[in-house]
Assembly symmetry: C2
Homo-oligomer: 157 residues x 2
């Protein structure tokens, strides 16, 4: 099986979930994003910031350059929801979510199929020699599942 | 990149999500499975039956033989939750869920890497010639995301 075809399979799944997420986010008003997905659980705005932070972190993790929004980590990754007083507004987060995914798409489009099978930045050269499945494409598979999981929660709002 | 490595990447993600699902299901009592994931939404038992039906359907879809539990389709796929009077008990569904995933694992273990890149049963020979990404491995990628989405909901109970 060609690497090109495999990359297509994984990226198709990635873009399909991004599309699902965008569809749900477009349906939710900024006001609705302040609702919890279930009583006592995370709010929509937290999941939006969380997904944006995780996707933004993919840029350095996949060795594609500098990330744009490191300030999202503290309120949306390090701290749980409803513990940080001043969150960015929903409209700013929506824009950052969009930008982040567009930047990733731009990188993915300009990469050769083989580039996806190179190591990512959270694995050492030595470990990668023994475990070549710890490549960039594997990170995308994992983040697609992460996205699917949170989209399944966002639709509950 | 070898087909073997790619199959490993996709199956690792699959088994990892099955493990996540099992962990959540083990934490939930039969009584808790009767709770909704969010007010007015699906109950845990519906998601358990739904996931079992979808995974059971993988057996014929991937051309691995006959499925075991076609009776799950009506209450857990065709009909929405809370419209079917007599559902199987949680303990029966838990057993069927376990069986189904064990049968799939047994098949996956006995398949050669190249087998995963053969066509599945929902695509014609003609269409598959033009669209070789519509192979069995692609279905597993898609079902892993499906599972991730519902595990993200089950943990809300």
């Amino acid at each position: 099986m060609s690497n090109q075809l495999i990359v297509k399979m994984v990226l198709d799944a990635w873009y399909s979930k991004i599309k699902d997420a965008d569809k749900v986010l477009d349906m939710l008003s900024d006001e609705q994003l302040m609702h919890e997905i279930s009583p006592g659980r995370n709010r929509g705005i937290y999941l939006l910031g969380h997904l944006t932070a995780v996707h933004d972190r993919l840029v350095p993790l996949l060795d594609l350059g500098e990330r744009l929004y490191p300030d999202l980590d503290e309120p949306f990754l390090t701290q749980p929801d409803k513990t940080v007083a001043n969150l960015p507004s929903a409209s700013i987060l929506r824009q950052e979510w969009k930008n982040t995914n567009e930047i990733l798409a731009h990188h993915f489009n300009s990469m050769e199929p083989d580039d996806f099978f190179r190591k990512h930045n959270a694995v050492s050269v030595e470990a990668f020699e023994k475990e070549p499945h710890r490549n960039r494409l594997n990170v995308i598979i994992s983040r697609t599942n992460h996205l699917a999981s949170h989209v399944g929660q966002l639709i509950l709002i």
